[in-house]
Every structure is written in C-alpha cells, then in structure tokens.
C-alpha cells in the first residue's frame, strides 16, 4: 500500500513525470504555438515578430497578392486531382489485387515502394522523366512524331498536373493498401449472395461493397486531405514554384515569407489560412463521426 500522501498532486507521481513531455508538447508547442501564430497574424511584424496590431491588414494584403491567389488555385486543382485519382486508382488496384491472383505480395510491394521515398526524391526523379529534351517528350519526338508536346514542367498552364503525376505515383500505394484491407474486411457471404442473385461483379462493387467500405474511404479521405494542405517539398524539388510563380503552393508561400522575404506578418496570416482550411475539413467530419458515436452511445 502506498503511504498517505499529503497532496493530491503527488498521487501517481511517476505517470505525471512520464507525461511531462506530452503536456509540454500539447500545451506549449501545439496549442501555444498555434495561438501565438494566429495572434501575430494581426500584427505588422516584418523581420522580427512585434505586437503592433493592424487588424486584418495582413489578410487583406494576402488576398490581393497574385502569388497567393495562384497558390490557392493550384492547391484546389492539386487537391481535387489527388482526392479523385488516388481514391479511384487506389480502389481499382486494390480490387485487382483482391481477385485471388498469384504474386499478390510482389505486386503490392511494387505499388507501395514509392511511398517509402521522400517527396524530394520523388520530385527530382519526375523532374528528370518530364525533362523536355531527354524525357518522355524527347523520346516520343525521337520516334518520329516531331510535333508531339508533353512538357508540363515548363508550361505554366499545366505545370501543376506535372506535380500531380509525381504525387500520385508516390502515394496511391498507401491508398491501395488501406482499400485492400477494407475489401478483405467484407464478408465473403455477401459475394456469394450477390453471385446467387446473378448480380454482375461491377454492380456488386459499386452498390454493395463500396457503401460498406465507408469507414475506410473516410480514413483515406482524411489522410489524403491533410496531406494535400501540407504539400511543400515536392514542389520545391520538382519546380521550385516555377515557371515564374505558376506552381506555387500555400505552404511554400508561408516558408518564403517567413524565412527569405522577412515578412513575418504575411507568413503568419498565410499559415493561419492553412489552419482554417484544415479545420474546415476536420470539424464537419469530427462532428459527423463523433456526434454519431455519441448518439449511439
């Protein structure tokens, strides 16, 4: 029996000591850091953070800056492309692998290995493959199709799709793995019942299996969505935001404003906008999931 302790604070003392790093991280870095950034986004901080409030001036300036608007537009295209294609390709690959095939492990290993590589490595490889002189375009032209043009990294209109191709290569493997786990969780009786009723396989997938996999889709969706907002190193490695400003993204805007343009206030305002966009994704989802669970008890 533990001896009588005079103070409640000292009860379970070792556990509290063990939790000190977590408490510091949660309170000081995560909560404190976020609140600090939001507060300073209302100031005119330049080279150093200073508390002279200017209201919403930083945000006003932000939304008048062409580079920020391009970043937001890119994020939308990239985000929509990532969501749609990684879910569709991930699911299709998982469905193909789920057909009792041989060498399943080999195929899965091949589809997933890009995920082990960093975005820097991914970006640099695809920068080389999409190189207009030596890469895909150069080869097709070399085969005799002289007018062939596929030059995403040097064409401002389509550069974001060049980045999307690289990102999809890197991350569809993970979605496939999540989907495969979801498919394996479906009761085989359902497949038997569908076959007995003469329902074609694609209809079974579309109307029975996919609705049953709702939790897996939501998990994948949240994972992809939080990854989209953070996209940074891929762009730095593949295009450095170019040509011009045509492949800029919000995370890069924040970094450049804070650490090379000495314009902290803009960086804080932009990162606060990133925080807001994540909250827009997280809160409705948490409300749906958590609220539902509460009602069910």
């Amino acid at each position: 029996m533990p001896q009588q302790r005079p103070n409640r604070l000292f009860r379970n003392l070792h556990a509290k000591i063990a939790a000190i790093p977590m408490i510091l991280t949660a309170v000081v870095v995560f909560a404190g850091g976020s609140i600090w950034t939001v507060i300073y986004s209302f100031t005119s901080s330049g080279l150093l953070p200073r508390l002279n409030f200017v209201g919403l001036a930083q945000y006003e300036r932000l939304w008048w800056t062409p580079r920020w608007l391009v970043s937001i537009e890119n994020l939308f295209i990239y985000g929509l492309g990532m969501l749609v294609f990684s879910l569709v390709i991930g699911f299709l690959l998982a469905a193909l692998l789920d057909q009792k095939i041989r060498f399943e492990n080999t195929f899965r290993t091949i589809f997933l290995y890009p995920f082990a590589l960093s975005f820097i490595v991914t970006g640099l490889v695809w920068q080389w493959i999409l190189n207009p002189d030596f890469g895909v375009q150069g080869i097709v032209r070399g085969l005799g199709w002289e007018s062939f043009s596929f030059n995403p990294l040097y064409n401002p209109d389509i550069v974001i799709y060049g980045i999307l191709i690289a990102a999809l290569w890197q991350s569809t493997g993970l979605v496939m793995c999540l989907m495969l786990a979801g498919l394996r969780g479906i009761d085989e009786e359902i497949w038997k019942a569908a076959r007995v009723d003469g329902i074609p396989a694609w209809k079974t997938y579309l109307f029975i299996v996919i609705p049953m996999m709702r939790p897996v889709f939501i998990t994948a969706l949240v994972i992809i969505a939080t990854g989209i907002v953070k996209v940074y190193d891929l762009v730095v490695a593949q295009t450095s935001g170019g040509p011009g400003i045509s492949s800029e993204v919000p995370a890069k805007y924040v970094y450049d404003m804070m650490f090379s343009s000495q314009n902290l206030g803009q960086g804080f305002a932009a990162s606060t906008m990133m925080l807001v966009s994540v909250l827009i994704v997280i809160i409705p989802w948490a409300y749906l999931e958590f609220g539902g669970r509460m009602r069910r008890g």
Binding site: T25, L117, S118, A237
Partner: protein, 312 residues
C-alpha cells in the same frame, strides 16, 4: 475526436498486416481465360509504370554525360560507369562546398539515430502512463496532442524558432532532434497507448500486488512483451525522419543540413552545367536508406506507414 481517424487508421493498419494473407474475391476458373489475361496484363503494365522511375534513376546514374545527351532516358547504359556515384558521394557541389553528399548523409545519420531513440523512449513511456496509470486531466492533454497532429506544421514553425533560440539550440542538430521528437509524439503515443491498452489487466494487477512500481512494470513486463510495436515505431520514425525536408531546412544551418536538403541544393543549383547522371546517383543514394528499410521490413512497414500516414 481527431483520435477516431487515427484509431481507425491503426485498426485498418492492423488488418492490413494480418488479412493480406488470404485473398477473397471470386475464384478464377482457368489459367488462360480472357479474364486472367486482362487481370495480369493490367497489373503487369501498372507495375511497370511504378517501377519505371526507379529504373530510370538506376540507368541514368550509370551512364556518362555524352551518352545521356545523345540517348534516351530509358535505354540501358552502353558503357557502365560508377563515376557519377563517386562524384555524387564525394565531390558534388552546393554553393562553395564541394565535399559531396557524404556530409549530408552523416548529418542525417546524426539526426536520425538520436531522434528515433528519443522519440520512441518518450512516446512509449507516455503511452504506457496513459494506458495503465491514468491520472486526472491526462485525456485532455492527449486530445490536444492528437488534434495537433492535424495542424499544418507551417503554423508552428516560427514559434518553435523562438523557443529553440531561447534555449540556445536554434541551428544545432540537438534542436532538430528535439523538433523531430515533438512531432513524432502524437502518432507514436497513440500507437503505444493502443498497444499497451490491449495487454491483459490481470498481468498488470498481479505485478502491482507483487510490489512492482511504475518503472518496474514498464521495464520488466511491458517492454519485453511489446517488441513488435517497437519495431513498427522504429520503421516509421527512421523513414519519416530520414525523408524530412521542411524541419531540416528551417532548423539547421548549411553545414548541418540533412541529406534531403543537401540533395535538393545539389540538383537544383543554378550554377554550372547540369550533370544528370550525378544528380540521379545522388537522388538514389538519398532514397537508398528508406528503400532498404522498406524491402527489409515487408509487412511491418505497411503497418507502420498506415499508422503514421496521418503524420503527413
């Protein structure tokens, strides 16, 4: 609330590692049916597409520059040379420094090892405290921690610069190790908490009756029982920290840059003639560590990344 997705993820990850053994779909009828040709044909083409970049990296890094200028990127090297690898490792330039990627490699080693050890030590003890020694208020902090995993890092970048500057660690490897330990905490704590929660309570109570304390139970019972989850955490952290770019570029100085940052500086430097073969050798060298971890760890990697995917 945010913990639900991570819990789901961990659940999915567990299933991913366990259930990948037995396929379920419809059983194929004959070996050479039209369906099989379509199935294997599609998978084969897709697999080629996924392997292509790796293949291009390897062949480019083994060619000489004259061959690259005339040939195409997919053709195998006519004359194999290891010159680009040597150059990438030992003499490639970033700015005025010309000592190659080796410096970045050793920096990354010096960053990764202590970060992995420290983050796993903190998170495992913390997860153990949360699972078995609950105290008042613990769940509040844990919830903040998990929500923190979803906040874009950009929001916390500058406050951390200030904190590190205050304690005199800004720009040092120690500072970066601390940053990695902090950002590894949400997912690792969750991983360990869930694992330790599944250990039968009778075991814990019996040890308490025998007089074992907080640390005694941790070192004598929990630690030996949970080696698999430590391996998952290890894989997750080694690949995650090795691949990090953002924290490296923000919290270190040029002479302490990790490998990813140095690689990007070498390849995307504007001066000089572009040496694509050296660039690809350097890129492969940087990707080699996580690739080896991936191919060596197999299914444990699937479990680790699915659990860590929320980390982004």
């Amino acid at each position: 609330m945010a913990s639900i997705v991570t819990l789901n993820t961990v659940g999915v990850a567990d299933r991913a590692s366990e259930d990948l053994v037995g396929p379920r779909g419809a059983r194929p009828a004959r070996a050479f049916s039209r369906r099989n040709i379509f199935l294997y044909g599609t998978l084969f083409v897709v697999a080629l597409y996924y392997l292509l970049p790796l293949y291009v990296m390897v062949v480019t890094s083994l060619k000489g520059m004259p061959e690259i200028r005339v040939g195409n990127i997919f053709s195998p090297p006519l004359e194999i040379t290891f010159e680009p690898w040597v150059k990438a490792w030992a003499t490639a330039c970033t700015g005025l420094n010309c000592d190659g990627l080796s410096r970045g490699f050793w920096n990354s080693v010096r960053i990764t090892i202590p970060s992995v050890v420290l983050s796993i030590a903190i998170a495992s003890v913390n997860g153990y405290a949360l699972a078995n020694w609950r105290f008042k208020g613990a769940n509040v902090f844990f919830t903040i921690l998990i929500i923190g995993a979803f906040i874009p890092y950009q929001v916390m970048l500058y406050p951390i610069v200030i904190i590190l500057r205050e304690i005199g660690l800004y720009g040092s490897l120690t500072g970066l190790v601390l940053v990695h330990s902090v950002f590894g905490m949400p997912i690792l704590t969750l991983l360990f908490r869930n694992y330790f929660s599944s250990v039968p309570e009778e075991l814990f109570k019996a040890a308490r009756v025998d007089g074992a304390g907080f640390w005694g139970i941790y070192f004598k019972i929990m630690l030996p029982m949970s080696l698999p989850i430590f391996v998952v955490a290890l894989i997750l952290q080694v690949t995650g920290i090795w691949n990090d770019f953002l924290f490296g570029v923000v919290y270190t100085r040029p002479e302490t840059y990790p490998m990813t940052v140095q690689l990007n500086n070498i390849v995307n430097s504007v001066q000089g003639v572009k040496e694509y073969n050296v660039n690809m050798a350097a890129t492969l060298l940087t990707g080699l560590v996580p690739l080896i971890v991936y191919f060596a760890s197999g299914k444990l990697f699937v479990r680790g990344i699915a659990a860590g995917a929320v980390k982004g």
